[in-house]
Amino acid sequence: MVEQLSPLAAAFRPGSHGNFVDGVGVTLSEMAPGSIVQVAAWPGEEKKLIAAISSITGLKLADGAGAGAVSERHTVFGFAPGKFLVTDTAEGLASTLASAVTPATGSVTDLSHGRTAIRVAGQKSEWVLAKLFAVDFSLVAFPQGSGISTAHHDIFAQIQRSSPDRFDLYVFRSFARSFWKMLCHASDEVGYEVR
């Protein structure tokens, strides 16, 4: 297997930073899943696509806007009408999905090298993300497992809430380092740990 290189490079500095004297508010990490795949259904084929995703990931996906689910190995969420982001800790998800999603149902796009997955966890994660995105991050408006599409200026971001105080962010790989630096600045106030 080819060694995976992080686009964060030298900007990824493990350890505690910022104002952490009273404890660390958020923990920032890079998830680096083996596969990040976008699947899209043709209009009217959404249910077939959801069934294909469920059979491969073993995750039950509700038929509603932004619905999603998380397991140890996979994550999946809807980010636009008929479109889903699916990840796998292992490589090769795109070819597995391509064999299950026929051209009559929809399309499969491998974004494993095109996106960088950043995890923001901790009790202050809602607070930090609310500085960057004009979105309601409360658990009521943004339930566990669900996902959204939004943007910070022109950096498009897809965000999934993988647990009550944990968010997984998928940003363009080419913008990942500057986004990471900005995330670090936003986390400075509450103290953050990189690991």
């Binding site: 509603g64 806007a65 008929g82």
Partner: protein, 99 residues
């Protein structure tokens, strides 16, 4: 100004791109009716009040939306997917919202 996307829920206007007047009816591309084409390109109602508009949720789900906005107050009166005909559909994260 908030626009309630039928898929994403209420979002800041900065996530949306204005795609123009929603009242235009494009003539048949094969048509050579200059009056109809002139009206399509230039004639605008410019109302002081409710106005049909097309917006794209460019910084979100990227769906095109048919929005009715009050040009005096910026109140958003209704939002629906532009591809849907029929009654405007309001609602935050509408269960079963589809393309």
């Amino acid at each position: 100004m908030l626009i309630t996307c039928p898929y994403c829920g209420p979002r800041d206007v900065s996530e949306f791109a204005y795609q123009g007047d929603g009242n235009r009816n494009r003539p048949d591309p094969a048509s050579t009716d200059l009056v109809a084409w002139n009206a399509y390109v230039y004639d605008r109602l410019n109302p002081a009040g409710a106005h049909n508009e097309i917006w794209q949720h460019a910084g979100g789900c990227r769906a095109h939306l048919a929005v009715v906005r009050d040009t005096l107050t910026h109140e958003i009166l209704s939002v629906r997917f532009a591809r849907e005909k029929g009654a405007p559909a309001h609602g935050r994260r509408k269960s079963g919202a589809k393309a």
